[in-house]
Each structure stands twice: as C-alpha cells, then as structure tokens.
C-alpha cells in the first residue's frame, strides 16, 4: 500500500511537448510510471516518448482512462490546465508549475474542493511511491520502498531527508511534496489523514517552513487524530520577517508564520522537532529500533 499514487496510476502529462514536460515524462517512464497520455492543444495526434498526445484532457481521458495528471505548463496557463483536468473527472492533479498568482489559485482550489478533486501543488516536486510510481520530479534514484511517509512544503529539502533515510536503510511509503505556494491544494492535514489510514506507513515525516499557519494546524490535528509517530522539521528559523524566502508562501507577515511558533506548536502536540534535516533520519531510526 501507499497513498495517492501506485501501480494502478494511469498518468496524463499536461504540457508534454514542452522542454520540461518531455524531459520529466521520460524520467517518469524510466522509473516505471504508467504514462498513458499527454496533452498539448494543437499537438493532438503526435507522440512524445511513445506517449500519444491529445488536444484536450477530456479526449485523453476518454481514450486512455487516465486517472491522474501532472502539469508542466507555464504559470499563466497552469490554472486553466488544473481546471481542465478536474473538469474532465481526473481525481488527482499534480501541478509542478511555479509562479501562479495566488488570487488565481483561490478560485481553482475552491472549484477542486467542490468537485472532490485532489490537487498536489502548485510549485511542488510532485510525489513518489518508491518502486511503483513517480509523478513529478522527485529523483527516483534516492528513494526506496519502506515504512516512512513524507509530506513536505519543500523540494530539495525533501530529497535531503529521503537521502538520509535511504542511507540508513529506511525506505518510504510515499513522499508527497505539497508545494511552497500560499494557496495550494492538499495541505499537511489531508496528507496526514491519508498516511494514518495507509497500512504500509509506520512513521510520518512532516517538513514545514515559515509562512502561514499550516504547521500549527497540522500540530493540532496530529494531537487529535494521528496515532502513528510523527517527526517534524521547520525550515526558516533564521529568516527575517517580511521577506519572501524563495517560495511565494515562505514569508513571515501579519504576525504569523514564524518558525518558533510552529516548532512550539509541534512540541506542544508531542511531536519531536529535528534541529536539522539529517537528524530527522536519526530520530526515525531511533523510533524504529
């Protein structure tokens, strides 16, 4: 078992004919992901990496039975791409694209919530179920199948943690990068809930960062609802207020979003907080021993 993606995932790639889209399509196929369709308007009938390309998502879904999509289109077309997948009945949409205006995302996530469509991202590395399915850009060579579920607002920081776990021989059930934007799809809570229900997952790693209050909410949720051990990490203890630290959502503002508050919330919920990324793996290893 695992969450969100597995061997049964039939993936559609939006923006498959673009440079990024094509590159990562090849990487995903190489990893073993079942990429069944690509979509680029006007390119219907072509093929990319052996994958048939369609003009519309609706047609691609009809012809190939795609049940997940990943988006590699530029920011100004990405909201439309997300909506197109959701409107076509795809239950899981993963948006890698960075730089989508936050106000555009409000309407998009509202619509997806109404439809019951899962959105991962935007501005995220996607997700991977080791040995089964990779959707997005998380390097396939650092993961291994195992018991640890990872949910993170970050990209490379997540790779760092995966790397440290794998180096200690501890595999992962599913690694989910939920992205660094202020308005996004799945949050910590929804992913925690999925890990709680997943029999394969034994421990959970949560990687947060400054900005917003998602970590505080997650801490409360963990205390009330999660029986599995959780280890947290919060990036940005040294970040100054009012400055955007790379991610659109990584900013301390309006008196909220400080790392210290998030760490305090986790500690109050009984969740150990690692001091640096590699320590996460140490704590997990200790828990498992």
């Amino acid at each position: 078992m695992s969450i969100l993606v597995d061997k049964n995932t039939r993936l559609l790639v939006q923006g498959i004919t673009g440079r990024e889209g094509e590159f990562h399509t090849r990487q995903m196929i190489e990893y073993g992901t079942n990429v069944v369709a690509g979509v680029t308007p006007g390119r219907g009938g072509q093929e990319v990496a052996g994958v048939p390309v369609f003009d519309t998502v609706a047609e691609a879904v009809e012809k190939t039975g795609a049940n997940a999509s990943v988006i590699f289109v530029p920011a100004r077309f990405a909201p439309d791409a997300i909506l197109e997948s959701a409107a076509s009945g795809i239950p899981l949409v993963v948006c890698i694209t960075e730089g989508i205006p936050a106000l555009d995302m409000i309407n998009v996530v509202t619509y997806l919530d109404e439809k019951g469509t899962y959105l991962v991202g935007p501005n995220c590395p996607g997700l991977i179920t080791p040995g089964e399915c990779k959707v997005g850009i998380i390097p396939g060579n650092i993961v291994m199948p195992g018991p640890v579920g990872i949910v993170s607002r970050s990209g490379t920081l997540t790779y760092e943690v995966i790397w440290a776990l794998t180096a200690r021989g501890i595999g992962q059930s599913t690694c989910v990068g939920i992205g660094g934007d202020p308005v996004n799809g799945l949050r910590f809570i929804e992913v925690l809930e999925l890990f709680e229900k997943d029999p394969q997952t034994e421990q959970i790693v949560l990687i947060g960062e400054i900005g917003g209050t998602a970590e505080e909410r997650a801490a409360e949720y963990i205390k009330a609802n999660i029986s599995k051990p959780v280890v947290a990490f919060v990036a940005g203890q040294t970040a100054p207020p009012g400055k955007r630290m790379g991610h659109a959502g990584a900013i301390i503002s309006g008196g909220e979003g400080r790392a210290e508050d998030k760490i305090a919330a986790f500690e109050a919920a009984g969740v150990p907080v690692a001091e640096h990324p590699e320590q996460i793996a140490d704590i997990i290893a200790e828990m498992r021993s």
């Binding site: 309407n107 203890q237 630290m245 990584a250």
Partner: protein, 380 residues
Amino acid sequence: MNIHEYQAKRLFARYDIPIPGGDVATTPQEARQIAEKLGVPVVVKAQVLVGGRGKAGGIKLARNPDEAAARAEEILGMDIKGLTVEKVLVDEAADIQDELYLGVVLDRGNKRVILMGSSEGGVDIEEVAATSPEKIVRVTVEPLLGLREFQARQLAYGMGLDKGLVRQFVGIAQGLYRAFMENDASLAEINPLVVTGDGRLLAVDGKMNIDDSGLFRHPEIEAMRDTAEEDESERLAREAGLSYVDLDGEIGCMVNGAGLAMATMDIVKLYGGAPANFLDIGGGAKADKVAAALRIILSDPRVKAVLFNIFGGITRGDEVARGILEALSEIQTDVPMVVRLVGTRAEEGRQLLADAKMITAESLSDAAQKAVAAARGQLA
C-alpha cells in the same frame, strides 16, 4: 513587491477612495511649492519601503510652506532602518476626529480573501490583534460572489461606525477590495482611515503589497518599482533570476531549492555561525546563473566563508561546478569555500572542482560545521 505610500494612495484614488490632496517632493523647494499650492497645513512624510517611519521621525507637520520646506530638508536623506529617504509626500493635513483601520488580506489558512476593519486605527493592526482582538471585525469573501454590499455594511456596523458614514464606508471597502483583486495584491491597507471633523472618510495612509507572481499582468505596477530603495545585491539577483535575501551574517550560502536554502541557513546558525544571505539558484540552474550568484555573494564584504549546498535533481553538479569556476576566474578572492555536492553528476562536479582549493563535505552537517570553522579562520 511593495509600493510606496504615495503610489498606493494614488492607486486607491482610481477606485474612488478619497485621499488627501498632495504630491511627492524630492527637494525642500518642491515641498514648499506643493504646500503653497495646497494652501493649508501639510504633513511631510518620508517615502521608504519600511515600517516605523513615524517613530523614526519621518513624519512631520508643517503649518506653512516655509515649514514644509524645513521639514522636508530634515527628512530627505534621513536613514530609516538602513534605507535613505529619497522622496517625501507632502499631503494636506487632515482634520482628524477618529482613526479607523481597513485592510484586505489573503487568509492563507482558509484560502480566501478577507476584509478586516477596526475602530482602532492609526496603530499597528497586529498590536490591536494582540491586545484587543474583539476590536477587529472580519468578513470572508466568497470567490463566487466577490465582496457584497451587505458584507461591507456588516464591517461598518461591526466597527461601530456612525450610521451617516456607512454609505461612504461601503464605497471605500468595495474600492479597496477591487484595488486588491485587480492588482494581484497580497495586502491592501488603509491605516488610518480617518473620520474628519466635517464627517468625511479619508484614506490618510495607504499600503499595498503585490504578489510577485501576478506582476506579469501589471506592467504599470512593475514600473513603480523603486530600484533606488532596493538593496544592490537583491537587484542584481532579481535581474539574474535568483531568489536572494540579504542578511547580516558572515557565511554566504548558495543552495538549490528554497526550503533547503532556509535549512542550510538554519544549520549554519545551529553550529554557531550566521548566514550572510538566503540564496536559491532554483532548479536546473546553468553555469552562468551559478556564476552570477557567486559574484553577488562575494560582493558582500562581510562574507568570510561560502557554503555551497547542492542536492542535484534537475540541477546538475557539473553545471554548478562550472559556474563556480567561471566566477572564480574573474574574481580574486581569499574567502574559503565549502562545497557539498550530492545527486545528479555530483561526482563530475567534485572532479571539476578538485584543483580549485575547495573544502569538500559529505553531509550537510559536516558542510555547515566546516563553513563555520572556515569563517573563523580555523580551516582552509
């Protein structure tokens, strides 16, 4: 991106929000002329992109044009939290009877735009939130409906506004909401929204932050960018497509990925150092971008060591190495450098750097500790 008070207020005025008469001066003479034209007592206000102007002496009253010139003379060139005042706004002084707060913000937790109002204006709203939270009234905008009149009225009545002012307030709230939405703002704020002696509402101060991701569709706002106010390194980084924030420490950091960059800063601190910057070169950076990044880091005289932390995914270790070598071929420097390369083509990268007298590290902890030691002159 932040814009100046005067820019925010001019934008608000386009949405029928009443603002005081006034104009911007860069010299005391200009300030005098503006005051003459207004013909009433004025307020001379430093235009800097940082809070706390008032306490720093950046806002002063002037009863006549001579005083306006004198106050402008005092304020122009003043240093406020590291920024030099280049412009002052000379505004009609309002006859202030009461000060309110009105703001539009993005409520990230609920994925909604909200309006906040308070009868306690003129002070920092976070302070009000901390000391008298019951004084803040909120309404949540439904994306399907936009801000409705009844919601603006709810705010007004909730703030205890005089009934005679409700209609004016509703217009201002709707204008501020539209200004927020139509300009991809992340914050639009009137503080204080003043009730004048003759029963009018007036936006005496204005603040607006714009979502960088939305700037592409607002060239007129992009044109408001005050590069004179921008840190030179931050400007260069922005032009190179790098995500960079200048900090006070002594260890320059170059990292791929925002979260990892923050974690790298944090671990530097954990081991007793202080980061000189946040710097994310992004995914898949090529050599020229890496070189630009290194030039920016080395231009900071406080930097005593540089820490490269690259976890290769899309980013390739060899590209990063080439960028480092490219920058070092131009710059003479004695600053010690610690390199940690992992992932895609890390080995090739390490080989390229073998001759460059770099300190190498395997783990992030190791790298951070070595960088801190190097900055103290205990390594290299």
